[in-house]
């Protein structure tokens, strides 16, 4: 380009009513398409909830490719700029990349990395930036969580790459839940283990296709030695985690109380 005046003229030539309208129409169609995709996915979720994680995790990819397609087609197919202008835009993008330390760009790049190499997916139960909840939406720059208090938490994607992410189910519907019980040292530990295992098995929310593990430990607190029973079992659906924990507590504590484990006058096992 000979001078800046010519460059500006070339740029203004690109901006025409037809082209803007075409781009807007293209965006509208892409948007409608995505609405349709999401509607279909919701219908599938309702019909086959068992596979909801599979449907949900596909949506961020569809959205990414649709908008990527829109951008590429708008530039190449509709705007069709002069090659020098492309070089100028590439230069501008280089500056943006250079400024990637800025938070929004950092989150966008982090979001892209998360989609390519995901530490979590939609439907997973994760601890992210100190918040524990279900991933309900995965966007370019942020991840949305729903906590068990029914709060929606927005976490910038850069956080996911910066800190450790704890994923409880990694794409599966079932999830391991750990519940700890404390018993006086005088209690018959074999009986306690058997009762804890059977009480957990009796919960209707226990995923019986995976094993129930009961571990015995000991602890010294409040000036006395105690036994700890740790129950590790899988819940059928990650969304039932808290309900399951409560149910195990009800059942195991009832079993322990029926066996008089918490009575003050404990008779040591013979």
């Amino acid at each position: 380009m000979d001078n800046s005046r010519e460059a500006l003229k070339a740029f203004l030539d690109i901006i025409s009513f037809d082209r803007i309208l075409s781009i807007l129409l293209l965006c509208l169609f892409a948007w409608l398409f995505l609405v349709l995709v999401q509607f279909c996915l919701n219908q599938l979720n309702n019909k086959l909830p068992k596979y909801r994680l599979i449907w949900n995790r596909s949506y961020p990819f569809v959205r990414l490719f649709v908008w990527l397609g829109v951008i590429i087609y708008s530039i190449i197919g509709i705007i069709d700029p002069h090659e020098n202008l492309i070089l100028a835009v590439v230069g501008s993008i280089s500056i943006v990349v250079g400024l990637a330390t800025q938070e929004p760009a950092k989150n966008l790049i982090a979001g892209f990395i998360i989609m390519l190499n995901p530490p979590y997916r939609v439907g997973d139960m994760v601890t992210l930036a100190g918040h524990y909840g279900e991933v309900i939406k995965l966007e370019w720059s942020v991840t949305w969580l729903r906590t068990f208090d029914d709060n929606t938490v927005m976490v910038p994607n850069a956080e996911a790459l910066k800190t450790a992410v704890s994923n409880a189910n990694s794409g599966a519907l079932d999830e391991m839940v750990v519940v700890k019980f404390t018993l006086p040292m005088s209690v018959d530990h074999n009986k306690a283990i058997a009762l804890a295992r059977e009480a957990t098995q009796c919960s209707p929310y226990t995923f019986l296709n995976k094993p129930i593990i009961v571990n015995l430990g000991n602890d010294y607190s409040f000036g006395q030695y105690q036994q700890t029973i740790i129950v590790k079992a899988y819940v059928m659906d990650v969304r039932l985690e808290k309900k399951f924990v409560s149910d195990i507590n009800i059942r195991v504590l009832s079993a322990f109380k029926n066996a008089h484990f918490y009575d003050e006058q404990q008779t040591p096992p013979t």
């Binding site: 948007w31 609405v35 999401q38 509607f39 519907l173 019986l208 296709n209 059928m236 659906d237």
Partner: protein
């Protein structure tokens, strides 16, 4: 761009409402006009409902384990013959027959005496060997009360052999029981509905372990055959590793199109709609010249006039024999009501399962437990779900009102009401529960 705009959310809601059937306003006659049959209508046609579902009136009109109308299952019968012959040749192991609810497991077990007779007949013509003689006595039984202690399990097993059970449990009770059972003459013992022995209540684990120990230790002397529901078997395998103790597992599935067509052809013959000649030939076979006695004489063409309906029946019922029989009967009846012309052109009514779609998560959990246990009392349901008996009673009554389960009412105590999955709907309900992550393969 965020696509979750409120406008589209409303549009989606409106579209869903528009597309969804108006469930609450629909009546049975509306369904019938559209060629549909509701789950409630299906449940109402279960024989128990005629007697208001009271336990005292539930007397079957024909023997429960009947070998008449037995169709197909050739491969499984061959496997059973091998199992019995292995036992006779001193390689006795416990065998299990696993089938989904309503696939005809009880009918298969009911056929065992006939099979024994066939083996006996073959043995008489065979060269004598040192194989054991076939047992003189055989026993088919089903437990309706799951044991909740080792003592209850021992008592139940002692009753099977007419042995006096021990008065109280002791360290030697199991050993004594095993010894006493092994002193009895060899028997063929068939336990139907093994899943009814499994209950998600405290104490059941020890009872099952005791039960398994006794039958393991007596398997060489007596021939044990266990029948279990498919999804309950999955639970038993995962939690109790039952497959480690059972050598022969025979799988039965719902009927294929050909087998189901044979069963339904029999029903059509009994209704006098077609000639009995169709029972002797396959649908695709060429016609014979046998004259039909029925007024509806279309057998000269050789093709079953209801062939198309039989195909529809298999598609809709997915091979469930009781559901297919009910659908055929209902469709024929409805056809007679609307028009008496051209009986062969009837369309088999489809199932309106909207009641199942309306179920909430806790309803589905209840259905799953009732399905796997083969039925639950109100008090058992309350115990399993850690809720009050009143809450359980209301929840089960709700499911029964929609035809998903059937009640057998106790005269004395509402906590003793027994609820079980409508037998004709087992396949539909199980599929729904699997899709909703409540039952697992």
């Amino acid at each position: 761009m965020d696509i979750n705009l409120r406008l589209f959310s409303r549009f989606g809601h409106w579209a869903s409402n528009l597309l969804a059937p108006k469930r609450s306003l629909k009546s049975e006659s509306d369904d019938a006009q559209q060629g549909l049959i509701s789950l409630k209508t299906i449940a109402n046609q279960y024989p128990l409902q005629i007697g208001q579902g009271q336990l005292t009136e539930a007397v079957p009109t024909r023997p429960f384990y009947s070998s008449d109308r037995f169709v197909g299952r050739e491969q499984q019968l061959n496997q059973m013959t091998e199992v019995i012959n292995l036992w006779r040749n001193h390689h006795g192991e416990i065998s299990a027959i696993v089938a989904p609810a309503g696939a005809g497991l009880s009918a298969f077990l009911g056929y065992m005496p006939t099979l024994l007779q066939q083996i006996q007949d073959n043995t008489e013509h065979a060269v004598p060997t040192n194989a054991k003689a076939l047992p003189n006595t055989w026993l088919i039984m089903s437990f309706y009360q799951a044991p909740l202690s080792a003592f209850a399990a021992i008592t139940n097993l002692c009753h099977c052999f007419n042995i006096a059970p021990p008065k109280r449990i002791s360290d030697s009770s199991i050993t004594d029981t095993i010894y006493a059972i092994n002193q009895q003459a060899p028997q063929l013992i068939i336990i139907d509905d093994l899943h009814k022995l499994m209950l998600r209540m405290m104490g059941n684990y020890q009872a099952l372990v005791t039960f398994a120990t006794i039958i393991m230790e007596t398997r060489k002397h007596h021939c044990w055959i266990l029948g279990c529901e498919k999804y309950a078997w999955q639970r038993l395998s995962a939690q109790y590793q039952i497959t480690h103790f059972i050598k022969h597992i025979i799988n039965i599935d719902y009927f294929n199109a050909q087998e189901l067509a044979n069963i339904q052809t029999q029903q059509l013959v009994e209704l006098g709609l077609i000639s009995a000649d169709y029972l002797k030939q396959k649908p695709a076979e060429k016609p014979n010249n046998h004259k039909s006695d029925t007024p509806d004489d279309t057998s000269e063409t050789g093709v079953n006039p209801y062939d198309e309906q039989l195909k529809q029946l298999h598609t809709i019922s997915q091979g469930h024999p009781k559901l297919a029989a009910l659908l055929l009967q209902h469709s024929l009846k409805h056809q007679v009501e609307t028009t008496s012309d051209n009986k062969h052109k009837i369309d088999i009514c489809k199932i309106n399962s909207s009641a199942l779609q309306q179920c909430q998560d806790n309803d589905l959990f209840s259905l799953a437990e009732i399905y796997v246990h083969g039925g639950l009392k109100v008090e058992q349901h309350a115990h399993i779900f850690a809720q009050s008996i009143e809450q359980s009673s209301l929840q089960l009554a709700y499911l029964a009102r929609h035809g998903l389960i059937i009640a057998q009412y106790s005269q004395q105590d509402f906590a003793q009401h027994f609820y079980f999955i409508t037998p004709t709907l087992t396949k539909i309900i199980a599929s729904h529960l699997v899709n909703n992550n409540k039952l697992f393969n």
